[in-house]
Assembly symmetry: C2
Homo-oligomer: 542 residues x 2
Amino acid sequence: MNALMMRQPLLISTLLTHAERHHGEQEIVSRRVEGDLHRQTYRQLGQRARRMANALAARGMKFGDRVATLAWNGYRHMELYYAVSGSGAVLHTLNPRLHPDQVVWIADHAEDQILFFDLSFLPLIEAIASRVKTVKAFVAMTDRAHMPVSAALPDLLCYEDLIEAHSDEFEWPSFDENTASSLCYTSGTTGNPKGALYSHRSTVLHTYAAALPDTFNCSARDTILPVVPMFHVNAWGLPYVACMVGAKLVFPGPWLDGKSLYDLFEGEGVTLSAGVPTVWQGLLTHVETTGQRFSTMRRTIIGGSACPPAMMSAFQDHHGVHVMHAWGMTEMSPLGTVCALKPKHLSLDATARAAVQAKQGRAIYGVEMKIVGDDGQELPHDGRSAGELMVRGPWIISSYYKSEGGDPLVDGWFPTGDVSTIDTDGFMQITDRSKDVVKSGGEWIGSIDLENIAMAHPAVAMAACIGVRHPKWDERPLLVVAKKPNAEVSREELIRFYDGKIAKWWTPDDVVFVDSIPLGATGKMQKNKLREQFQNHQLPTL
Amino acid sequence: MNALMMRQPLLISTLLTHAERHHGEQEIVSRRVEGDLHRQTYRQLGQRARRMANALAARGMKFGDRVATLAWNGYRHMELYYAVSGSGAVLHTLNPRLHPDQVVWIADHAEDQILFFDLSFLPLIEAIASRVKTVKAFVAMTDRAHMPVSAALPDLLCYEDLIEAHSDEFEWPSFDENTASSLCYTSGTTGNPKGALYSHRSTVLHTYAAALPDTFNCSARDTILPVVPMFHVNAWGLPYVACMVGAKLVFPGPWLDGKSLYDLFEGEGVTLSAGVPTVWQGLLTHVETTGQRFSTMRRTIIGGSACPPAMMSAFQDHHGVHVMHAWGMTEMSPLGTVCALKPKHLSLDATARAAVQAKQGRAIYGVEMKIVGDDGQELPHDGRSAGELMVRGPWIISSYYKSEGGDPLVDGWFPTGDVSTIDTDGFMQITDRSKDVVKSGGEWIGSIDLENIAMAHPAVAMAACIGVRHPKWDERPLLVVAKKPNAEVSREELIRFYDGKIAKWWTPDDVVFVDSIPLGATGKMQKNKLREQFQNHQLPTL
C-alpha cells in the first residue's frame, strides 16, 4: 500500500534555498588566489548562483551536460557547486594535481563542455586547451581587473563578467532525484581513471548523514574550514552540510601551509576542520615551532589515510582539539565510517581510548558493511578476523561512469579494496589495502601497523612498508623510511624498535632509507612505485 | 542523465539492523504496566522484533495490512514499531485517551486486523471488542503469568506466547520506500478523525532530520526518555532516532507523574526528554516541592503547544536544563521547526534571548514554510506580518487516508491552520490557531500572547483566551482562568496585569474564573468547548 506523503524530490538546490531563507546573513569567507580575504553571505551566494545558472543557460548548457572546474576551495567554486547541479547539469571537479595527460584524458572521457579554472591553473589550462576535445569555453574564475592575458587562449571568459551580465531571477528546476549532480574521478593506481557519478538523492542523503552529531556534528553555531579540497569528493560533503545547517564557511584557497591555515583558524573562529594527515602535519609543525594555541578549534576530522597515533596525541593531548577518524572513498560520496566514541569509551584510560580512536569507526546509518575472506564468505565481527571490506548503501556507486572497468559489484556489494576488522561494537579498523597487504606464509601482515610503529620513532618523517618476494615465505615486509632533516637512525635500531610492539614474525626483514616517499595527487603514499623500485631488493634474511 | 548510485530503498527495518549491528549492547529500559523496571538490549529488540514478524505472518498478516496498538511507551510497543512496519504491514497507533466511540470509528475506518494492547486498556478493549468490525484478534502485551481473565474476551492472545512460539530467523523484506509504514489519526475538533499515512521514506528522512545537532541533537552518548506518547505521532520520531544513533532509550510506561518521571530521569541518567507542557508542569512542581535537582538532564524538547515563558525560565534558570521549542503536526510526521539558537543569539541578554526562545524556531532542512494572508498572497518574513502558515516537504502528507476531508493541499502546500510570523532569520512564531484568533475591528489579536501573560501571574494555573461576539468590534477577547489551589486574584487585578505588556486594545474585555480548563486527548486546551460555554457571555464593555 502506498503512503500518502508529498513526493518532494531530494534536490541539491533546496539546500541553497534553505540556507538563503534561514541563514541569509551567515558568512562565507574565502582566502582568494588573488591573496585577499573575501566575504559574502549565503544570501549573496544564492543570488550569484542564480546569476551563474542564467549564464550557463545562455552559454547553451543543457540538462545533463558536464561542467568542469579546476579550482581551490573558495566562494566561486561554491557558487558553481549550486549553479551547475541546481540547473540539472553535472559538476565535474577535476583534480589539478594530476598530470596534464590525465586531466586531458578525464575531461575527454567526461565530455566536459565548459571549464572553469582558478588563476593558479592557467599554465595547466594553456597546456591542455588545444588537446581537450569537447570543451567549448574556458572561464577564468576572477574579475575583469585580474584577467590574465594569454596568447594561447585569446577567448578566455571572465567569471565576474558572466555574473554581472545575467539576472539573479532564476527558478531552480524540479526533476527526478536520481538525476546526476556531480562527477568525480578516482585516480586508481592501475587502469584508467574511473568516474563516480553522484545523484541529487545520494548527495542530500549523504549530507543529512554527514551533519549528524556522531559524524561531523555541524550546527548553525559552527565555523567550518574544509581543508580537504572541493575537487576531492566534494570536500567530503562539507559545502552541502554548511548550507543544510547554516554554518559559517571558511575557504583557504591555495594557502594550505601551516601558518596560513593557523591564521585563518584564529582570525575567523574556526570550530571544525577536516583534511588528510599530510596537511595536519604542516599545521602541527607550525604551532609547535611558534608555541601558538588553538583558541576556537574544538575538533578535526582526519581521513584519506589513517591518522598516525603521534598526530592524534599531539592534537588531543597538547592542543585540546578532539580528533575524529573518518573513512570513506570517492565511490562512497565519500563517508562510510566515523570514529565517534560510545559512552563506555569515555571512562577508558588514555591508552585504551587511543586504541579505540585509532580505528576508522562505526558505519554511519545508511552504510552497511561486511568483511569477507578469500572465499567470499562473511567473517565474524570479533575485532580479530581481517577480510576485504564490502559496503552497500544509497550513496555508494552501482557502477563507474560509462561502465569503465566493468561491473564493480559483488552480489550487490561494493568491494572497497581495503582489508579490515570489525569489532563487536561495530568499529571497523583498516589493517591494509588488499593490494598492500604483505602475504607471508599464507598469513596477512598489515603494512599500516608496521608504518605507524616506525612513524612513532622520533627520527622518522615518513615510512612505507611493502611486501618483497621471498622464496620461502612468498613475501616478507620491507620498511622504506624517509628520515627527518638532520635526524639519524640505523637499520638495526629501527628493527629493534618493533620489539614487544608486534608479533615477532611481523617485524620487517629489512629497512631502506630514501630521500622522500612518493606521494600521489591526493597526498597518499604511492606504494606501487616503491614496489616497482624495490622489486629486486635482496632481503638479508634470504 | 541518471546517476550511477545504488538504489537502496530507505526502509524502517534498516534502522533496526543498524542498531543491532553497531549498538547491540545498548539498553532499552522500560517501566512496565506491571510496575517493574525491564531492561533489554538493541540486540534483543532485534531478535524479538523478528520473532514477532514471524508471529504476524503466522497470524495471516499481509503486506499493507493494518496492525493496531493501544499502548504506552515501552519495549513491546517498540518491538511492534519494527516488526509491523519492517514486515511491510502498517502500524496503526490508536490513541487510548479518545472516547471508545471514536476508537471504534477509527479502528473501523483503518480496517485494523489485529489489535495489541497494554493491560491498562483492558476495560477499553472490553468496551469496543464486540463493536469493531475488522479486528480478528486481540493481543494482551504481557506474559502468561500476567494474562487477564476476561469473560468478555475468552480468545485473548498473549504477547509473550507469540514471541516464544516463533523463531528469530526472519529476513526483513525489501520493497518500495514509498510503501505505507504507519498510520496516525488526528482528532480534529470538527469533522471525522483523519489519518496521516506515513511512508518508510518519509520516516527515514524525518529520522535523519530529527537527529541533527540543531534538532534533537542525538548521539550514541545520549539517554533519551520520550514522554510524548508512542501513540501520538510516533513519539515525535524518537523510537526511530534512537536506533539511528544508538542512544539508550528509557520508556516511562503509564507512569507520567512528576515523581515517577524524576526517579526514572535520575536512575537511568536521562540526558534528553521530550513532551508537552502539561506533563512538564507536573515534573517541575515535583522538583520544586522536594527541592530536587536534575543531575544528568541537559535539554528538553517542548512541543504540542507553546511553552509558557515561566516554564521555560524554570527549566533553564533554576534547573540548568536547556529548553528547545519544537513545532509540528501529525500531518508533518511531526517535525517542522525547532528553536535552535544562532551564534548571534548567544550574546543576547536574558530577556532578549527568552524572546527568541519563545518562538517555535526555524524550519528543519526538508521542510519549506511560507505565510499567506486572507487573499492567499505570500507575506514578508519580517517578524511582524502574521498569516496562515503553509508547509511543504517529503514528510508532510499529500492527503488523508481514504481521502477523508477531501484534498487538503493548496497549490501543493499543506495549510497548517496556524497563524504565524516568520522573522528575517527564518524563525517562525505561532501567534494563534487560525480558528482561535480573535478578530477585532478587522485586526487579529493573538490569543496565545494573552494566555502567556496571564499564566505568568502567580495565582494562575491555566488560562485560555477566546473571542466573544461584540456588536461594534465583531469579536473581543475574553480570558478564562483556572486559579492555582488556594490562590486568589481578582478580575480587575488580572486586567491591570496586562498594562504595559501589550497594545492597549489587545487587553481582554473581561475575565471569568472556572474550576478547570477542558483538555483534549493530547493535552491541548479545548477552546471550542469554552467558546460554546461562553458564546452568550455578556462583556462589560458592551
